[in-house]
Amino acid sequence: MPKWILLISLLTTVYITAAQQVWEGKITDGQISLESVSVVLKDSAGKIIAFTRSNNDGVFTFTIPVAHPGFKLEFSSIGYKKKTMALPSQFQKLDITLEEDAVRLKDVILTDRPSIKTSGDTSTYNPADFADKQDRSIGDVLKKMPGISVDDAGKIEYNGKSISSLYIDGDNVLDNQYNIGTQAIPHTAVDRVQVIEKDQPIKMLRKNNRSENVALNLVLKKEARIKLMGDATIGAGVPEKYNAEINTMLFRKQLKFLNALKTNNIGQNLQTELTRHDFFGMSSSQNHKPDAFLSAGSSTVPGLPLRRTLFNNAALANLNNLFKLNDDYQVKINAAIYFDFQRMDYSKSTVIYLPDKTIRYKETQTNQYRPQMIQTKIDFTGNAEKYYLKNSLSIHSAQGRTNSKLNTNDQAANQNLKNETTEFLNELSFSKTLSSKNNIAFASTLSKTSLSENLYLNPGINPDIFNHGSPYAGLAQHVKLPTFFSHEQLSFTHGNKNLFQTYAIGHVYQKQLLTSELMKQDGNIQEPAGIDFRNNLSWNFTKWFFSSMYEYKSQKADASLKLPLSRNTYRYDDEKLNKYVNNAFIVFNPQFFLKYQTGIEHNLTLNYAHSLSAGNIENIYYGSILRNYRSLIANDAPLSQQTSDMASLTFNFKKAIQMIFFNLGTSFGNVSSNTISSYIITDEQEKRIAIPLFNQSKSWSAFGSASKYFFDLSSTGSVKASFSSNNMDQLQNEVLLKFKGYNISLSSGFKTKFSKKFNTDYDIRYNISRYRSAGEKIGTSFSQVQQQLMLYLSSLAGMDFNATVQHLFSHQPGQKPVNYVFADAGVRYNWKKMKADVLLDIRNIGNIRTFETITQSSNSYITGIYQIPGRMVVVSVRFLIR
């Protein structure tokens, strides 16, 4: 800094205070001027009458009305001897020299330091600060905590990011199926909710923690750590509705459990409690196995949440037990049994536009679906400073039975589907630190799965195809697919301050055997429908890989580059058809990610990925499989290979002080494949065969969103818009159709908090999709508007009220628009005397019993009319067990 500026500034100070006597001086240690020296002027009695500090140049000034004899000046600074001198009787410029001094100030150590008490730092929340009288579970309170949101499926997000784990006193008891925990743990048992912004459960990786995961930890109150807690709910309603549940839990240091029994027929899907909210392991994405080859019909109603549409009769036992052997070792057992009986009735009419004709068909189905599931998972974890060992063994067994009465184009038939899957999965991982910068890790996955499906159809359909035109008793489709999978890898990580390098080598193996047979029943004779309807296909996939990954992190940039290189071998063989293929190729699928901080309040994110992927057993089997009464699916193509390139660029910007946030982005995608699905569609049937034909689909999109908090209105307003366009090829009835489509979606929301007791939440969404084929004048267009208003009114005569109104509007050209208005209401009353909550729930007040919805594809409309539960009134009481 130029000295003259300082001089002028000092002069100005002098100028302003020139009315009094101004003393000035300079302090040095003999050579260098000393800054920040404390200067004190005392009178003869030792009373401080003025004080100042020396500036950067060692210069100090002070002002006194008039100097008296006996005034003393004291100069002190850390590292220098204190100097005391008499103030000269005559006004003069002072030159002060201080002597260095090694003597430090005396430490003052108090033994009774103040005890630690919680303070209000932002990453720790006290549930009591957010809980309302009507709240019971920690889930009720979590959703009110700043930055935390809980969605319909129970998934928790912190600042828009899904949490990776929900810990209870530091332990991941629920193995990330945490819904049961958020619903059952009373908020009064929780002392604090901690947000762990860089969650790293593996201790040895904490030193150079690169985790970006967010987790929540529920710190329990002392009294909640010793006693058994729980609650019981019982409810009944019309028409013939019930729900009941019991939760028991114990959270000791050595033993933690949370066990629940639940049953209901009010449309609460208990299967969601078994939903895992964490990310799948590295292996599951490579172990491709179809969930099912066969189906009996649609399982969900498009466009509506499940609670509005589900006719159920479900029961669930959910057991979660964690034993801590010591600080480093623990064993965890998660087990569940689930049964349900679901009903679904619908009729569908389908219109498919093809260049030369239009195909229309109708179907009506009455379905009864009985799913069952048993699962057990046993985890052993050793988590120490220098190593990490985890083995988890899980056994999962599921069964489903569907009875479906159907009517298609005035032909009646029965479908009966049974499916069974069993999976044994063992995952082992071990890592060890070699030095402060180097880690080595080994991981292994072994899995054995069996899938068995049987579909019975009677009477026989499409006699022209299956029985030379004469009627027959029925068809039976059998499919079996056992899968063996293994994955082993060894990896090495070298971490520096900013740069992390990971190198891995490994081996992946998958073996499958697909057997399928279509049997025809004619009279009492059961015989195979033919060689075209049979598979006996063995599939072997082997992959050797070497991958390197580089991650760079600095204040400004965050980048990663993945370079996986592998040699993939595919061998498959259908002996009876005499078809054998051995395919091997090198695959290189690089990925790049960059996030660059262009400023404190804005950043750019760039993503790019290239990938070459091959098909799987579903794309190569030769014999036709009757997927359901309408669809026959087969392949007649080499192994499909897909090449895709994806890129996206996003700009995030905020003006936090004005509470304005927005982002803008664009993405491009290009996917090409050497095979295409060829559809032969008639009024009766749909046949799909994959055949070799190079085809490409291209897409790009632009999106943006903005939100603003309106201080005066206590309201949050948000808008979001996106445009996407895509080009794709479809082969239908031997005509290659090139479709162009676009989709525009706009949405906006406004949430207002009118007072502590009353708030509203309004959302509206508009969506339009159009498709058109090049050359041929076929295409579809569909638009939809959804709006919803929610009102909350709390603490009124000990009761809380809520109401929801949802309006859906959809329109297809040439058709009458479809309009629905759903309304729900609820009251919660805190029955203090009984220490219980009483809840009254009225759902679907307008008693809408059928719901019509349209599903659009590039050249088809499917109009479905579904039976849905009508008005429902349920009263339930929940008691706490103490």
Binding site: I8, D107, K143, K144, S149, N159, K654, I660, N759
Partner: protein, 288 residues
């Protein structure tokens, strides 16, 4: 003329701050036990917190030891790491420029600049020895309260707890005349070069292994990534967050690319905070 001089004066001060606000080594730290009756209807339930004032030659920073300890506990349990500096609620004071900046967390980290002020202390002749430190008494009216401060002339620092400073010596203890806000002395330690170089008190895991420290207590540095805000702007944000915490954070989420959710789940009750005890007695009161 005066105007342009004033302009240059202001300019020079800005330049000075620019220079001074680089990293400052910590020479010593003073510890305080902070007691605050936040709810005047429940004076028996004061908020208490242990605080630390890090003292450098040209800067000081006041922050909560409890907050650091909480973060350390989190790190011990979960390997949670916060950036070396910043991300805490702390008050920076630069005596030479008479500038006070407060770092506050509210979703993001904000650096709030206080308008320059000078506390007009009246230094009395009263002396007292506090834990062996000889102190002088000074009184002042500041931000709605009558403050009584005890400062140590032998400790040549211009700083003090919270926003109190400007005495010829460290403010060792201070309280208001109603004893609603008390900063009592809890210790003073030199931070020498030797202790700075080696991590002072190493964190220990339950099995006795060492962990890196959460917060570097040996330097004073303004957080780089904090958003600068004026006192008025920040007060507006804080007010909005208090009134409608959910909406406040929803706004941030919706604009940062997350989905605008049409929540069709079970409706929940409204968020009406039943705060025990009520915060009705801030340290800073309006002058009237």
């Amino acid at each position: 003329m005066i105007r342009s001089l004033l302009f240059i004066y202001v300019l020079s001060i800005i330049t000075l701050i620019g220079n001074a606000q680089n990293t400052q080594p910590v020479i010593a730290k003073a510890l305080y036990s902070f007691t605050h009756i936040i709810d005047t209807t429940q004076p028996d339930k004061p908020h208490t917190e242990s605080m630390v004032l890090l003292l450098g030659k040209k800067a000081s920073v006041y922050l909560s030891l409890d907050e650091i300890k909480q973060l350390e506990a989190l790190q011990r349990a979960f390997g949670h790491q916060i950036p070396e500096l910043g991300g805490l609620n702390q008050i920076f004071y630069f005596p030479d420029e008479n500038q006070l900046l407060t770092e506050r967390m509210l979703g993001s980290s904000y650096l709030v600049q206080e308008p320059a002020y000078k506390i007009s202390w009246t230094i009395t002749n009263d002396t007292m020895s506090i834990e062996g430190v000889s102190c002088l008494k000074a009184t002042a009216r500041f931000r709605g309260r009558n403050w009584i401060a005890w400062f140590a002339p032998d400790m040549p620092f211009n700083a003090g707890p919270w926003k109190l400073h400007g005495l010829p010596g460290l403010i060792v203890s201070a309280h208001d005349d109603k004893n609603e806000v008390i900063f009592s002395f809890a210790g003073f330690e030199n931070v020498t070069k030797a202790t700075t170089d080696q991590p002072k008190k190493e964190l220990k895991t339950p099995d006795g292994k060492s962990m890196p420290a959460v917060y570097n207590l040996s330097v004073i540095q303004l957080p780089e990534k904090a958003i600068r805000a004026s006192k008025k702007e920040f007060a507006r944000l804080e007010e909005a967050m208090k009134k409608d915490p959910h909406g406040f954070f929803q706004t941030q989420m919706a604009g940062s690319g997350s989905n605008i959710k049409t929540v069709v789940g079970k409706p929940v009750g409204a968020s009406t905070g039943t705060k025990p005890p009520e915060f009705n007695n801030p340290i800073e009161l309006s002058e009237n």
